[in-house]
Symmetry: C2
Subunit: 238 residues, 2 copies
Amino acid sequence: MSKQIDIGRVLANLPLFQQLNESEIANLAAGTREIGLSKGQILFQKGCWLDGFYVTVYGQIKLAFSSPQGHEKVVSIVGPGQSFGEAVMFMETSCPVMAQALEDSRLLYIAKQSIFTAIDHDSAFARRMLAGLSMRLHSLIQDVENYSLRSSTQRVIGFLLQLAGTATDSPVEFELPANKHVIASRLNLTPETLSRILHSLSEFGLISVRGKRISVLNAAHLSQFDDSPRPPPCAKDA
Amino acid sequence: MSKQIDIGRVLANLPLFQQLNESEIANLAAGTREIGLSKGQILFQKGCWLDGFYVTVYGQIKLAFSSPQGHEKVVSIVGPGQSFGEAVMFMETSCPVMAQALEDSRLLYIAKQSIFTAIDHDSAFARRMLAGLSMRLHSLIQDVENYSLRSSTQRVIGFLLQLAGTATDSPVEFELPANKHVIASRLNLTPETLSRILHSLSEFGLISVRGKRISVLNAAHLSQFDDSPRPPPCAKDA
DNA sequence: GCCGCGCCTTGATTTACATCAAATTCCCGA
DNA sequence: TCGGGAATTTGATGTAAATCAAGGCGCGGC
């Protein structure tokens, strides 16, 4: 009735599984369930045990943790084609974050067992899995770097440039992937601060903002933009 | 002359390689070099390309990045038996951090090629490698959680409790694994702040500090310690 | 249309932590 | 043992960003 998904086809198109042969894909598909989530629905809570991992087919999932004081911090916003939960699956631990749908979404849940079989069967697959985790690790390190030695303005700029893609000259327009409140949390700042920063960047003529639509008017200048206290050009060394 | 290391023996004792058989270990050993570093020496810079990964035999290595403004942030302090650089090896990227010896150290450098061979040979090894990376990922997530939703005091407490181990009742004494300046950076705070926090915790009778030697006097209370602004116990709800 | 309700913005104020500037102590080598 | 430089502590001050507190504005429902 409702659009059925050809699990095998979807799997085969994921970067991770591209090079598996038909029977391997079939095996994987056998251990895979489809999951539909409506906006706001929680997929799992922090502390849950996972026996597999998830791939987003469409929609958007946020991964976040929350402090005892009830504050929430978004770790990651995962979109179509991206996966999450592998790391938890490979360790025998409970999940350090919770997962919630930001919009109506459809996921695949791939059982640990079939992944292990695939690893046993194909060491190239194991390597791809390793590379995948490594990339995840790398981007977390980036996050740590951003949080610890860049100002909020710099973090916002980095985020915008990432969304704008590699194009560097002409104005690029795009849409924020979520509510400003979620974006703000992802960048480790409050909605108020995000708002002020976007405002200030557009006053500088570097971007323009209309709701969720943002244009990067001058990527080069934007990436150069320096919000650090201006050490007055001192003429004494000469 | 100087104490020679039996590379094979050291490798065989690493958790990662425990279950490999003799010939596999021999293979690995063939692709392994020994590296000596004296205190302060830099192993590699941010941006270097690695063709393998490192295991610390003894000594201590710090992994850090530095901002354009010259500030440095320590990501990790790695001690004997621990490894680093795997993630970079599995991706084809340059290293996001620099590595420097905190004290005279001895490392093993294991070539990518022999690891790949081991993976091809033994899928259980691949799984262990995956689990290892997953744990690394997990602890980075912890870091992100700590940085983003815990106060500096809470971060210090967490760190102390980690060092103190699982023992929860009796006073535990231990030594800080590095200069306070390095510890501070690891915890994302300045040496001054760290000093003040340690001072304040010992005023509360929770720990005692003498140089690098720290006693956790009351782990239970310490883990409970709350530095948030005290909402005065309000008697209105009754 | 026009109401109602989140989302976002804007402004005033607070605060946790950094920064700057001296002591003081530690540690190590001569 | 003594000196000297680095590590650490301590105090005074500054500040980026959070928090608190109203508004405005967009949008879907009626």
